[in-house]
Symmetry: D4
Subunit: 252 residues, 8 copies
Amino acid sequence: MDSNYLRNLLGRLINGQMDIDTVLEKLKNLPFEDMGYAKLDHHRNLRNGFPEVVFCEGKTCSQVAEIVSRLAKCNTNVLATRAGIDVYDTVKQECPRAQYHQLARCITIENDTIHKYKSPILVISAGTADLPAAEEAAVTAEIMGGTVTRLYDVGVAGIHRLFSHHELIRKAAVIIVVAGMEGALASVVAGLVDVPVIAVPTSIGYGASFGGLAALLAMLNSCASGIAVVNIDNGFGAAAMAISIVRLAERN
Amino acid sequence: MDSNYLRNLLGRLINGQMDIDTVLEKLKNLPFEDMGYAKLDHHRNLRNGFPEVVFCEGKTCSQVAEIVSRLAKCNTNVLATRAGIDVYDTVKQECPRAQYHQLARCITIENDTIHKYKSPILVISAGTADLPAAEEAAVTAEIMGGTVTRLYDVGVAGIHRLFSHHELIRKAAVIIVVAGMEGALASVVAGLVDVPVIAVPTSIGYGASFGGLAALLAMLNSCASGIAVVNIDNGFGAAAMAISIVRLAERN
Amino acid sequence: MDSNYLRNLLGRLINGQMDIDTVLEKLKNLPFEDMGYAKLDHHRNLRNGFPEVVFCEGKTCSQVAEIVSRLAKCNTNVLATRAGIDVYDTVKQECPRAQYHQLARCITIENDTIHKYKSPILVISAGTADLPAAEEAAVTAEIMGGTVTRLYDVGVAGIHRLFSHHELIRKAAVIIVVAGMEGALASVVAGLVDVPVIAVPTSIGYGASFGGLAALLAMLNSCASGIAVVNIDNGFGAAAMAISIVRLAERN
Amino acid sequence: MDSNYLRNLLGRLINGQMDIDTVLEKLKNLPFEDMGYAKLDHHRNLRNGFPEVVFCEGKTCSQVAEIVSRLAKCNTNVLATRAGIDVYDTVKQECPRAQYHQLARCITIENDTIHKYKSPILVISAGTADLPAAEEAAVTAEIMGGTVTRLYDVGVAGIHRLFSHHELIRKAAVIIVVAGMEGALASVVAGLVDVPVIAVPTSIGYGASFGGLAALLAMLNSCASGIAVVNIDNGFGAAAMAISIVRLAERN
Amino acid sequence: MDSNYLRNLLGRLINGQMDIDTVLEKLKNLPFEDMGYAKLDHHRNLRNGFPEVVFCEGKTCSQVAEIVSRLAKCNTNVLATRAGIDVYDTVKQECPRAQYHQLARCITIENDTIHKYKSPILVISAGTADLPAAEEAAVTAEIMGGTVTRLYDVGVAGIHRLFSHHELIRKAAVIIVVAGMEGALASVVAGLVDVPVIAVPTSIGYGASFGGLAALLAMLNSCASGIAVVNIDNGFGAAAMAISIVRLAERN
Amino acid sequence: MDSNYLRNLLGRLINGQMDIDTVLEKLKNLPFEDMGYAKLDHHRNLRNGFPEVVFCEGKTCSQVAEIVSRLAKCNTNVLATRAGIDVYDTVKQECPRAQYHQLARCITIENDTIHKYKSPILVISAGTADLPAAEEAAVTAEIMGGTVTRLYDVGVAGIHRLFSHHELIRKAAVIIVVAGMEGALASVVAGLVDVPVIAVPTSIGYGASFGGLAALLAMLNSCASGIAVVNIDNGFGAAAMAISIVRLAERN
Amino acid sequence: MDSNYLRNLLGRLINGQMDIDTVLEKLKNLPFEDMGYAKLDHHRNLRNGFPEVVFCEGKTCSQVAEIVSRLAKCNTNVLATRAGIDVYDTVKQECPRAQYHQLARCITIENDTIHKYKSPILVISAGTADLPAAEEAAVTAEIMGGTVTRLYDVGVAGIHRLFSHHELIRKAAVIIVVAGMEGALASVVAGLVDVPVIAVPTSIGYGASFGGLAALLAMLNSCASGIAVVNIDNGFGAAAMAISIVRLAERN
Amino acid sequence: MDSNYLRNLLGRLINGQMDIDTVLEKLKNLPFEDMGYAKLDHHRNLRNGFPEVVFCEGKTCSQVAEIVSRLAKCNTNVLATRAGIDVYDTVKQECPRAQYHQLARCITIENDTIHKYKSPILVISAGTADLPAAEEAAVTAEIMGGTVTRLYDVGVAGIHRLFSHHELIRKAAVIIVVAGMEGALASVVAGLVDVPVIAVPTSIGYGASFGGLAALLAMLNSCASGIAVVNIDNGFGAAAMAISIVRLAERN
């Protein structure tokens, strides 16, 4: 709620500059956000440096470049996901500070200090083909302030690779598991730990993978507990969930 | 790892009661869990009073009663989900302390002090028909130590009902949103807050709801961020995820 | 917006009974609906006699009876859909004025004068097996004030039956087409008229009907225009849409 | 029915120029449309200026150009949907008055006065990616005589954006809601108003959006009433439905 | 077209008993079927004794009994499909000539001489569990005049059983293949013959049979030619198609 | 069975040139087709001029050209389906008599007299976009000896167009109905006639058409009888079925 | 091939009791199986004692009892799957030697010595709810001669339980993995061994398990190799595959 | 388990160079694979020459080339699947011994002697379009040591082609059946033999084949026994399963 505006309004009522009916009318027509419903933010002060996000898919290079450079001028941090190299090339001309994360297909621009969360976020991926979604998660979490460790290529077909990193797993505060094909890695990891596990099915696979449906269903039906799932290939969403968790953990 | 056993083994090696080859052989044949891989627990000490869980669906009354009473004898807390009243009646005879939560279709037995997490967990449901899943989440979270507030019957068709409770929403540390039909409530809530939102699609609906598929897909495709999804009607899973989050938040 | 409450508040501000900060705080905590966002009603005055609706599926007889009798005491009209005869029997004891519509599986209670809309709503059904959904639409439309004509059993396998009623079709202001199996009737009717056609797929059929999916997809893919679709077996929803249309047509 | 032809036929029977058997035979072989079944039009007089519609998908540029220019020569208005810029370039050469609506991917040619309907049609879209379907709806409604207002980019993840335009929503006679991903916007809007809401799911999204299926199912399962759905991305169909409604509303 | 009525009408016009406008009006309001569009029958004379068909599913015993006895009073033959033994018991009381075909779940009543088609219709089924659909096809074809041979339990897992009956297969004019599970029998049979093959997938199977979907898809994708498919378990539809073929073959 | 070979074998047995064991062994190892099971042809004599068929999809231009020219050298008729213009160009160089049917995407080569069937086969299509499948059916039927009439662009949205051709429909011996989108045309046509109707769903449509699934399901669930269905876009299969029917009808 | 019959036939040819044409005709009409194509058995001698199998689902108690007792009279072993206790009670009266395996829902009758295969078949199941399918596999394998070891309740949510049995796993010749929900166990096991793994998805689960589809898809998409899948809940099929493998392994 | 390391550790304990707590700590932190759980190999000695496998889909030419040449330098055999000709061209420059199998889209490099299994593996395919998957299976099996025979183009539409090769079928130890469209060949073959049959559905087909789903479901629902299924187009997986079987058969 914009207290100043309201305070001014009520002041004019007291002063007799406005009568009750005029004030009532004005209250009735206040834009919604002015009433305080815009965003029920818990810790807006913690959110300094939180990036603005642009989803590039279905937008042209110049459209993205325009949006990004407009945002960048506000001295805010920017994250653009699903961005091809051609999108980056266009953005780069406008915003020289833009950085490209090729595997993640993300562009980041750091204009503002990022509030750092110390709780370790571990991103685990099953196969090399899952790296784009895993990196989208990692890059997103980092620009949002996360402390990210990557543990890649530890699929269940060679489960000893996973177990050899048990120290890393033991230390994580939140774990993002990225896996395509049968998505079994999420259940195995969630069975090993007590911290929140966020599962990202990927569209990696062919035939009866049906574009990631097999992994998605497997993860939703996990027999392990302490696990929740985001959309297929949605590394961004997993990172946003992870950040909301570590933010909560560190807000006290 | 069973340190005592190992310490004893190594002691006997030093004492000359065993030679190196015998010890090597014994190490090689140690059951897996004895090697410390059983559960990479972070905070086992925090887990006092954590319940054993029995999923009753597909088990007979006497099977459940036997399992539950065996667990109850260990002075552990017990949670039995998807339990009909007939299951409860049978369990009650063996375990007089068993309590039945009719809407949730859960049985709980408190034998041990529950470690309480103070971070408020808010369970929101869209319609009265979603109550069984919502209550399964609430009862599960409570027996696991959660501090739960319920906010029911606030579906998006009358979205003002949701907004009138903005203070409740503002205070929550984790929010579980339970909704069937089109599942839109999850997106609306996640758009209002910055804390983790766990979405539970329910099988409520008919026709093109396809047993909860409509709500599930809607929640997976949420345009809001900071949201993750569990299986259809999986109130238990949502609560387990919520507890893993508040446990993390309070472990420091 | 509850003007009186606000007017009183502002009055106390002017009188000095409250200071600005107190008023600001009270404004901030006003329930949402008091701010006027509850329902952006266009013609609330037209809605006298509009029924309260209870969806009975998944509720026990006594639950429905309790809800219905509570509503009935408010002298409002009541419509309960998906109600079995046993539900009616229970309701009847509390509310002697309750009437049962067996085919429609609806209970209605008329406590208040219904505002009548004159624009004819025509409900067409393909086969006798589609009658439950068709009657749910007809009964719903009537208790909401609609003037309903029924044209049943005119499926496309004997399309001459449809054409023999062309005068009825010609006169309709809105047409609800209820059809299962291949759902072709909706396209044929919409191809004949220029008024809005609301298509209700039904779950009638077997095998590759997949519970009404075949009819639903057919209707969504209609090559005719001026047609929109509601959920499988959702006679209620079709009627609500039809009423919203005739209300609009007659509001001037 | 072509009265003149029939009148002439019967006249020749009376005059003895034809005998009964010849007339019977001729009646039997009358083309169907001559019998009056062609189109059971309600208000053909209201339809002056109503456009002919060409669906371009799957047709070559030259095919579309030929069809359109043939129609344009009849001094009728023309609407071509799903038309790429290359199609427009070809059409433009034949029909200099052709206009291209890039976002909507529509070509319009105004040769005749359009009958204007005053009832406001509001087109609401959730995200910028939904604009093509939203614009197809808006452009279609306009060439058919609709008075269209656009309210874009008001998705439920930031629901305050929607509420700040409540005056626009309050004034609408018919609302077309265009949304992809989880399609929740349709339920939220339909919960706010009493006028007919036509929901257009779009194919916007990825992964478990399954080409718009998620939004489609969500909209079909809406817990709000006064809502009906058209095919995925079918902006045209939504506009045709909206026009059929406002035509009805203004025919008196 | 009801020639007598029309002839009478035109006679009254000639006689001056009616004027042209009255006749025109009467022509305009003739029921559709009187105009000759009711049924474009090719060989109505061949259809003496063709049964009236009642689909019992979703109807109560008394409803079916009422319909059937009403039909039976017209001295027409009657076929009631999907009829349980209880339905038959009720029908039997009204219509003593009714016969029950238990496996086929059909009731037949022969009141009129059936026109016999000599072309042999062969009904082949894969397993014993497919018998209900196979018998529905056989009984339907017989009451419609077909000369039916049954060849049951010759699934592809023991393909020699099929081949030992090659003389039967060689002689058939039309073959109906009824198979559940993987539905492979249809392709094998169609690969052996040049006569029309009508494939009936059945809902026999479990798991990934998905209620007959597996067999349905297999049959639609048959690599053999001269094959077409009806709905899952639709023995009736297959027989109707077969009869339409032998009727054509014998109409000269 | 190759009688000469067997006769010779038995002759040598009688002559003492072979003993019983040798003959038994040779019988046991006879190739399958020599035993007469190769093809249980009914009327091989009727099949003179029947074409060899090549399905081009997934083959390169040169592969098709090689297969076709090899077949063409045998003085057999050839039909190549799903052939692009580039395939035709390659084939043409080898086989100057090859003809291309652009809409049907078929190549035909007539080297042999085609046995003509007089029973009229009517191919009806709903929209212009359905023409490729309709023409594949028509061209296939013609090269196989069918007498084909085409009735195109008579979809149910303007059902009078269909009815104006009732004479054509009345005369047909077999009808192939080709329709995409909601596929309603098949039911309407099958409701008008008693001859076999073969329904071809097409992949025409978008969104919830799901590549022809909507039309396929609609046709399988047709409430009309005397109808059977082939795979989506399978004009070839429908024609093969139609030919098998007219061949049967004319074999006496 | 029935050599005696053929030898006799050829003998009569040599003796002049039949002429060549008569013999040729008789050869042509020999039932198919007599020609040796009935079953291309590799090791019929190994198959002594192999059971006849009856699938009980969809058969009445008395039907099963009749089939089983007929088979039992032939001194063959019998396996009846999907048999309820009531089926067993009926069978037991006819065949006192019949044994019931309650969890497996199988009836077995041993009348003949079973050929024993020594290669160990290991049946692993994930949860107690998977036991019916696991036991169906175990009992089937045993009656077919398999040497079966059971390792139950070792799901991936507690993967240490699996690893503690590594010696059992190491020794297996073939492994059948039975798992519902997310089916991840199959991949984990197949990643540990080099012997053939047969995966049985079960219908255990709810919501997005879709009757076992989730587990089925997961297993088909396994990133491990040396794994193949059978139908949902098809313990019998897995055992039959396992036996075909150990038979092969021991045939030399 | 790395005995030397452990022996050394225990030696230092005895020698007093380490105390018990230090040794306990070190045991606890041993990498997983050192504990002997890495791979529970049965016959590692048999696996000399077993290839490393690279799945090329989704990798760039240079990525594949780098991985392959790195592997090739280890003197191991290499198999790269799903490799286009451009991938091969790049690999060839690094590894001159690389061979390309065009139909199979596989690259193989033989650096080491392959252990040969004598048991014949028969690869059967239904149509020419199924060759890529069939060849992937054949080439994979060969580089893994299999003795492979190919039997192609023997689909069930001309089942005599299959039967003429019964000797080949009779001799096979394992059979891989590769078929698209309706996938019926797998059932027919499995009905003829007692050896293990591995079914590979292919994505060949169109329309209701749904990318191989029809064949997959058919194979999973096979009424024959001794059959198991791999993913759509997964020739590699089928070969790996076949090799695991013949390895087992020959390990004694």
